[in-house]
């Protein structure tokens, strides 16, 4: 039995009439995507300001009275948590996932639009709860984004009474929001593809978002459970994670809990989280690269399987974050091995990106610049990851700035590069206007070079042994004077990079009214989202009839074709037959 596609149930789509139902309580995936996006960018800016404050303290110690050791820890924690969860996860999945999935697979909307709307409002609630923690007595938690007990809930840690509770509640609400959205994304990809859109014809963007969502649905439960258990430890006085201990000379009532259990639960979520952020970025960058190099993506099928393999493997590497927590050597061996194995599909992807560029007709437009920038930063961060995956190398480097440099390159800067690429690439579709090119290039070069000015020296600081999460280095023998001037230079670069984001924001708002009109499909892209009857697409996306797909999303520069791209919904004719990669013709690969 075939179940009717949403196309045939136009009754289900309530066309909104008033401003409120159209833009506020909206069930349209495109509006929800923009709501997610704006909220995420807003909290992202908060996190960016926090990082600037931290850098001020590190670069110029003893200068800023309003940054105390406690507030420094609070900045670190909120910065890290916001960046990872409330910015990247929300923007990549809630923002781009929402916008692109129905358009790219040829659906009219998500399968359950009402739940999709609720997902956004729950997300907004979680953000409000999180922001509220800046205003409660004691301020936000300063436990580090990993929230390790016992210290997270003990006196002495900033925000140990109110901040941590709000943080945990906010995370739980976020997980509910994510689940409501995520169920929609997965079901839409599996069940609501238009005619001809087989799984192996989906753009890699969809594969990345889809797999990341599945990871989220399976990994967030670990965070939810640990949040519940820690809340009980904090509020009710249970001892899940709390051993018997003496705090400030006082015997506490806790007894017999296991702090290491929390670390396992947290990282069982935390490592897949890295890929929840990375996989959508992998997918989107593949599509941007192929489009602006006017070439099919190299090794499409390998790319798909690499995404799936990385997703699967990401559940069996978590304890590489816990080498210093003490572990049976056999487990250390196991987790080091799995960690290095995950490098194989990852490396395949990198080779394929580079081979996609190879002899392509590269247009160095702004999205392409960011996409190529991503290849650099990702290779860079990935290589240091290989170091840290080995127990013996990790032990001395753990909790130093080498780690800070590593994860910023691989999961901070790299997804951000892709997000910028994606915004420059899809902005014309979302708004009907192009972003300004000159401003975009300035934004790119400042961000890209600035990134290196910030993070390259951090590797060196890490080798010196400068520890992370430290308010100040104090007078330590092993840290030379020069480290201080290095820190000052990092801070200057960070402030420049931070300020250069203003160029971007200006560009986004200015182009909304003054940008060049984009017209239809300005990049000459093949995938379905550019083939809508209206730009930007209207409610329901496709007009009276859903598109039919005849080919994969990478028919660029097909020999003999009249254009250098063939949209997925263009019917084949005798002159240019379709070219899925697995065609035996050999032309596609």
């Amino acid at each position: 039995m075939q179940h009717t596609a949403l196309a045939d149930q136009t009754l289900e789509l309530h066309d909104p009439h008033s401003f409120v139902t159209k833009y506020i309580w909206s069930q349209d995936h495109k509006v929800i995507a923009i709501q997610y996006g704006l909220t995420a960018v807003f909290v992202g800016l908060v996190a960016l300001v926090l990082s600037g404050l931290m850098r001020l303290q590190l670069g110029f110690p003893d200068t800023f009275d309003f940054i105390t050791p406690s507030s420094y820890l609070q900045f670190v924690t909120m910065h890290g948590m916001i960046m990872v969860i409330y910015l990247l996860t929300a923007l990549l999945l809630g923002g781009f996932g929402n916008y692109l999935i129905p358009l790219m697979v040829g659906a009219r909307d998500m399968v359950f639009p009402y739940m999709n709307m609720l997902s956004y409002w729950m997300y907004l609630l979680s953000v409000i709860i999180l922001m509220a923690s800046f205003f409660v007595p004691g301020g936000p938690t300063g436990a580090g984004w990993t929230l390790y007990p016992p210290q997270a809930i003990l006196q002495g840690t900033p925000g140990y009474d109110w901040g941590i509770i709000l943080m945990l509640v906010s995370l739980a609400v976020f997980i509910v929001a994510f689940t409501m959205g995520g169920l929609n994304y997965v079901t839409t990809v599996l069940q609501a593809r238009t005619r001809g859109m087989t799984l192996m014809r989906m753009p890699l963007t969809i594969w990345g978002i889809f797999t990341a969502t599945v990871l989220g649905l399976l990994a967030f439960p670990a965070l939810l459970v640990s949040a519940i258990m820690m809340l009980l430890d904090k509020i009710v006085g249970t001892s899940f994670f709390m051993p018997a201990l003496v705090s400030l000379g006082e015997n506490l009532d806790y007894t017999g809990g296991s702090p290491v259990l929390f670390q396992h639960l947290f990282w069982f979520f935390g490592h897949p989280e890295v890929y929840i952020v990375a996989l959508p970025a992998f997918g989107m960058v593949s599509d941007v690269l192929a489009c602006h190099a006017r070439k099919n993506i190299f090794g499409y099928r390998m790319m798909v399987w690499a995404i799936v393999a990385i997703g699967g493997l990401s559940f069996v590497v978590w304890a590489h974050h816990m080498y210093v927590s003490g572990m049976h050597p056999a487990f250390g061996f196991f987790f080091a091995t799995t960690t290095l194995i995950i490098a194989v599909p990852t490396a395949i992807k990198v080779y394929n990106w580079v081979l996609t560029l190879w002899r392509g007709n590269i247009h160095l437009r702004v999205p392409m610049l960011f996409a190529i920038g991503f290849i650099f930063t990702f290779i860079h961060g990935g290589l240091t990851g290989l170091f840290l995956g080995n127990v013996t190398i990790d032990l001395p480097l753990s909790d130093t700035y080498f780690v800070v440099a590593h994860f910023h390159m691989v999961m901070g800067v790299s997804p951000i590069m892709v997000l910028f690429a994606a915004i420059y690439h899809w902005y014309p579709l979302m708004t009907g206007r192009m972003l300004n090119d000159a401003l975009g290039k300035a934004h790119f070069w400042l961000t890209f070079l600035g990134t290196y000015a910030i993070y390259l020296p951090m590797h060196y600081l890490g080798f010196l042994g400068v520890p992370r999460r430290y308010f100040a280095m104090g007078s330590t023998d092993f840290i030379p004077e020069s480290a201080l001037s290095l820190n000052a230079s990092i801070t200057v670069s960070a402030l420049i990079v931070g300020a250069s984001q203003l160029i971007f924001l200006f560009n986004v708002f200015w182009s909304l009214r003054h940008g060049e009109k984009a017209g239809h499909n300005p990049w000459g892209a093949t995938s379905l989202e550019w083939q809508t009857p209206d730009v930007p697409p209207h409610h329901g996306n496709w007009g009276p009839e859903l598109p039919t797909v005849y080919r994969w999303a990478y028919d660029f520069s097909v020999p003999g074709a009249s254009h250098d791209f063939i949209p997925q919904n263009e019917p084949p004719d005798a002159a240019h037959p379709t070219s899925d990669e697995h065609d035996e013709r050999g032309g596609a690969i």
């Binding site: 238009t194 399976l218 439960p221 939810l224 459970v225 017999g256």
Partner: protein, 227 residues
């Protein structure tokens, strides 16, 4: 493979590659309504939640510093002058499993469009579920009032006994309660005839949730009461 055909249905390839091609064909991967697939995926996610709860419980139990109380003693009742270990749990489990039976029958009658029987059986399921929650409340009261077990302490040994017990059975009890509410709403709508047009897949979807909650209980039962 001839990819010029937009619709691959009806196209068969032999063996594994045929299966893959079939599954990856256009429109939909699983032959079921959207809501049903979504419920399956949600339950998969929920399975992870309960598995992690139970894994956490095992870990906490193994690393607890005090003695773990003997469950068959803790959960014994004096009935009719007899000392019956685990009797209440046995009844609770029986009730819940029976409710899965009535639910399965409700699904059957729903697809046959026998609305009266469907509603009756769903109501029976909800009542059985509610009485499960009632017995659970009784058990909690007994533990708290008579035995002095608290989430943070336990006169019989390890404090984690109470913590994990209240947390996990509480979380499960909330699932059952939510299920009772869910079933009641759906049953009401069935009675009103809201699904005459759309079809009765919704009853099966509610049933999936209910069976899942039931299955989870079997694991909780095994891990808490029999270990």
């Amino acid at each position: 493979m001839d990819t010029s055909k937009p619709d691959n249905s009806g196209y068969t390839e032999p063996g594994v590659s045929g299966m893959v091609a079939d599954w990856a064909a256009d429109k939909q991967a699983f032959d079921m309504p959207w809501g049903k697939l979504m419920m399956w995926i949600f339950l998969l996610s929920d399975t992870f939640i309960f598995s992690i709860f139970l894994t956490g419980y095992m870990n906490v139990r193994l690393s607890a510093t005090d003695n773990w109380p003997n469950p068959s003693e803790v959960f014994a009742l004096e009935m009719f002058g007899h000392h019956l270990p685990l009797i209440l749990i046995a009844i609770m489990t029986f009730v819940l499993i029976t409710s899965s039976g009535t639910m399965a029958m409700a699904v059957n009658f729903a697809y046959r469009r026998d609305r009266r029987k469907t509603v009756l059986l769903m109501a029976a399921t909800a009542v059985l579920g509610a009485s499960f929650v009632g017995m659970q409340a009784f058990e909690w009261t007994k533990l708290i009032v008579d035995e002095g077990v608290r989430p943070w302490s336990n006169p019989m040994g390890a404090a984690q006994f109470g913590s994990t017990f209240f947390m996990i059975t509480g979380f499960h009890g909330m699932h059952v309660t939510a299920g009772v509410i869910y079933l009641s709403i759906v049953a009401r709508r069935v009675a009103r005839g809201d699904y005459e047009q759309k079809g009765y897949a919704i009853v099966e979807i509610a049933g999936l949730y209910w069976h899942f909650v039931d299955l989870v209980w079997v694991f909780i039962f095994a891990f808490f009461y029999l270990w």
